[in-house]
Symmetry: D2
Subunit: 378 residues, 4 copies
């Protein structure tokens, strides 16, 4: 962190800032320009009382240098990054195997979710998803999920998907919309809680999730920069919780053709540069178009995802919600097959990825400082 | 609403769709092209079971023609629009007078909120704002509002601002972060509930607000199109609630210089074209820069806002949150003065605004169909 | 400018960078941290060979501190900014008077542009606009302007608008699409050249415009940040040219309802913080909706614009291009009337605008450093 | 195309519109609602005089139904799409083989471009890229390419890269910035002309390129929707030109971490749904970060690209421009190796991609209309 002092800051004020920082246990460095003085702060920045610092006389602002998302952040050196694995039921996410989580947008009935689970299992997927309470863009859609209108309905809906999951040995992933409902999800044996895009910045909900032992998939808000998103994820982990999974599902852009713009650059940045957490790609919401789910899911794995979220339905033509992006069962079969091949290839060619840090050093060594202008004659 | 049938739709399928629509009480029209058949649907579209319709054989999609936000929508004919007024305590919003709601980002202490209320009243503003639980982009900021950590703290914090409001005869506007807390706000005499930008799409919270009799200010989410926002507002009003206020506070864009991009085109569209509800402009969050609050607030009034939300603080240099966008008391005094002048001018020149509908008719009448190509010789 | 040295930079490399900077005539400051060394560079940064600097051993990157758009930038101290005026023919832009530039999207015929000029003059506007070669989103629109298909057509088209301007004593503003055509505009007596949004980053065209003595209106590209835009404007001025006018005409955003999102925060930032140049607001393109042109133009003046660009047409229902955003003549009359009132008010209340710099100082003086925590007891 | 008549349209006006359309050779259909009449237009819409139509009495607007980019558009039925191949010198793009085009951002000297060509060839790439005139965001960068300041310099620069290409049997791809320069590129034997992002909407340049026989790579503008981009590409092809290549290189979004947001959903949409043209992925500009080029290039191939554009440099630490995104030679070697493996896999698993059209039909057949509500009991 750099503290930028104002043009009118007095020497006393500068000294006071340094003293306060030392009092908090930080070391400092100082750069005195003709107009502006900058004070560098060294130490664990997550504990820095930035508000108090900004209040001090002569302080003009703070310029962050290192990351504020310490727990989400990448561990290890470039070229040897350490990734965490997270367990959902008996499935390990972010380890040796690709994790495919699939199912209908909504749980519609016992028969439908049972049939969905059967198809998902048969295709070789690893976990079952299905919404019990649903976001709807219009309040007049007339259907907000099988569990929408009472706690009893919610319990019944959750029981249906949990039953289907157990019948076919698939751990279950269900979205929660209200901080108050989390304990019901825990009680009824849901295996993983999902935070949807509209709740990506719901502070009350994220704070509540600090206290659950269940793994959490936190979907990126569609207006969040790559690093801003990680700060919201950090909120769940700030108290020590570790089993969190990132999910890229599309952001806003000038695009109108696709419902969202799936940011695979984000996935690559999370995986190769910024975060130790496993990353899911959700091309169903990321494109909103059934026929783009296949290529974008494969591209997402290639970019760095180790989990795939896909909507599929025994018959998407009659799905109660999001029917336009759900895959037909045969398409889903094909996709799982293709995903496994792409995952295997990515794993086998990952050694071909070499971060620049190594080369930078070698190139600097190889070329002495005074010869660095390339082929100097030209 | 237009139902677009697929290229492969059979005559039976087309007939089935028409029959189903008639069964639901709608009238239909049909346009049979060489490739595609379109079926127009006439009647109250808010009751249309769109999910079921999309499931029917041969249906390719639905093309909306009229608005899905019936209660939010503009009433009256162009040139004679009817706007609703909403009461906050004893203040009428959206009527003859401009409403200025001001105060600190956060309630920090009794002394601070009392002094804030005094300054706000003295400047001529109409209502007091102040956050008791705060959004923070980093979980490590160490301060999430005076009411953050327990129900007791929340109650104490709310009591402070309500007391300050009553002392200075200012109704109070406070943001709520959790559906569960709404009844506490009602109990303690808060006069208006605010939904912040991060919760703009928090379905559980919006559904809960249907049941409060308190007026609600619903801030536009920063990734929402103008009409998509109105659909989320409609959610609060869907059950009949009427006292809701729109608020423009900035959206995402390629801008980096300002924290958000204040969409004054949105304000004009709400006021002159789309909605009967009063509209607030929040230039504090809309720009994130103290020195742009003044011009943007004035521009917002000129564009169609009838309420102004402004952050001000007895000394913004030491504010615990958002200090960079809070006005100094003298700046706030000046701004209220300027606002009143701009409001008076807008009211006096509003008759100069004439929507095109009137002119379109006149120009079409004046110029017969066969002479419509202007100065045809050239 | 701050030079950030890499973690592996040697003491020799750091010394070499300092020495090189001194050799170029810059002064330096240095901040030595435990991990990273930063070197501050003081002097005229516009002459700094940044490429060469980045090539030096141990340099990790450059962190800009001050503006790269020296000529576009604001002159004077906060509270006493100096704005330049620019002449278009006999009209002074950015001075005591508001400048209204209006006319049809396209010059369609001599009769049409003459009638347009008459109406524009009668309404009290100051200059005449009209396109002779037009951007079209589809190549099949069949009409790319009266001057589109040959140099002869271009000359004839330009002559029409120049003639109309002279007939009614209105200087003329015409868009140019090709660097090659600039000299034709100069020859034929066009008074001001406009660079359209699609050419906002057309480097060849901007470089060519350095050499014209005609004033240039440079429209902001719809994907450009506020400061990134100013850098493209700086390109025209880099050789010393001074008579340039900024224009805000809308940027991309999540909005679909309006054609673009008019960034009035940009206008305020240009006028009050960043640039000495006059600023135009173009609400016709900024909204794409005729009935939003009136409120957004007025809001733009209130935000800081001193020039207004408006499309109007003797009968917009039959305009050959952009008919949906052109004003009916009566609407335009009303708008000019309203603009003058808004301009007068802004000028009279501008003294109420006080930048924070003044107050910051006073508040810091009034409140000694050790008492800065407000009402410390709480 | 649907013509939407206004609410006040008379029967005569409706008849007049139909008659005019019939006179132009179109067939029409009509849907008469209680409030609004819609008229469908059937035939070759690219010839429709939309301007004239919009001028007619009672016409409220036009609603497009089919594509305006006829030549760019996808040929063939879903599941059996026909893709065009384009030749660059002796290399076929969009055929059986992946095309890798690589080289430095800028041609800096004969030695540098020769060494670059050698490395590019040795790694197994297919064509050589290198800029001779460069876009620069600041006018003060002091380097705008080896060919920047005169026609002579441009000719010399182009000769260098053409010589290097011939020496190593690599066709050359060079960006053009000015319509005027196209014939120089043709004269000197450049094999492919590139339109950069800042010129994506440069109408004068695109019109000029209709007349060249050289293949053209047209980079997508960073503010363009997927289909809006294709309309600008259509402009080059409108006169019959066929050898055009699409290029995705990133669009604007809320992201700040990456320089642009690479839209792989766009690539998939182009390849699988919208266009017969080959598609290039440019992850160097699409991310702006050297260490994300590898994963995003591979993901781009998996999404549907058949050409790869990559910046590499003998020593990117000393590149004169865009050094932060150029690959080290060893990284580039690895990337080409990985690209070939990903390409081979995509080709082998492409049969697993089945568009929905087939399944939709089967599912509709299998499930009779009156039984389509899934497991109706629930």
């Amino acid at each position: 962190m750099i503290v930028k002092m104002s043009r009118r800051a007095t020497l006393d004020e500068i000294a006071a800032v340094e003293e306060r920082l030392h009092g908090w246990g930080y070391k400092t460095g100082k750069m005195v320009g003709e107009e502006i003085t900058l004070i560098g702060v060294y130490g664990d920045i997550t504990r820095l009382p930035t508000g108090e610092l900004q209040e001090m006389g002569g302080v003009d602002g703070l310029i962050p240098i290192s990351k504020a998302y310490k727990r989400v952040a990448q561990k290890g050196a470039p070229g040897n990054l350490l990734h965490s694995a997270v367990r959902i039921g008996n499935v390990e996410v972010g380890g040796e195997e690709l994790t495919v989580v699939a199912g209908p947008c909504s749980v519609e009935s016992e028969a439908q979710i049972m049939e969905s689970a059967r198809l998902v299992k048969a295709a070789g997927a690893n976990a079952l998803r299905g919404g019990v309470v649903k976001y709807r863009s219009s309040p007049y859609s007339g259907w907000e999920g099988i569990g929408a209108n009472s706690e009893e309905a919610l319990r019944n809906g959750l029981q249906l998907i949990v039953k289907a999951g157990r019948e076919f040995d698939l751990p279950t992933v269900v979205e929660v919309l209200d901080a108050n409902d989390v304990s019901i999800y825990e009680d009824l044996g849901v295996d993983c809680i999902q935070v949807g895009e509209p709740n990506s910045k719901n502070q009350a909900l994220l704070n509540r999730l600090r206290e659950t032992s269940l793994p959490v998939i936190h979907k990126r808000g569609n207006s969040l920069d790559i690093e801003a998103y990680l700060l919201w994820v950090e909120r769940i982990m700030a108290g020590g919780k570790e089993n969190v999974i990132l999910c890229e599902r599309g952001i806003v852009s000038p695009n109108k053709y696709t419902r969202n713009t799936l940011d695979l650059g984000g996935i690559a940045a999370f995986h190769y540069q910024l975060s130790c957490l496993p990353i899911a790609v959700d091309a169903s919401h990321g494109t909103g178009l059934r026929d783009l789910v296949h290529p974008l899911t494969l591209a997402g794995i290639m970019a760095g995802a180790s989990m795939v979220l896909v909507e599929t339905h025994p018959n998407p033509l009659i799905a109660k919600s999001d029917g336009f992006q759900g895959l037909f069962p045969q398409q889903f079969d094909h996709l799982v097959n293709a995903c496994q091949q792409v995952w295997a290839l990515r794993r086998s060619i990952e050694p071909l990825y070499t971060p620049s840090a190594a080369w930078e050093q070698e190139y600097e060594i190889r070329m002495p400082s005074d010869k660095k202008r390339f082929f100097g004659a030209s």
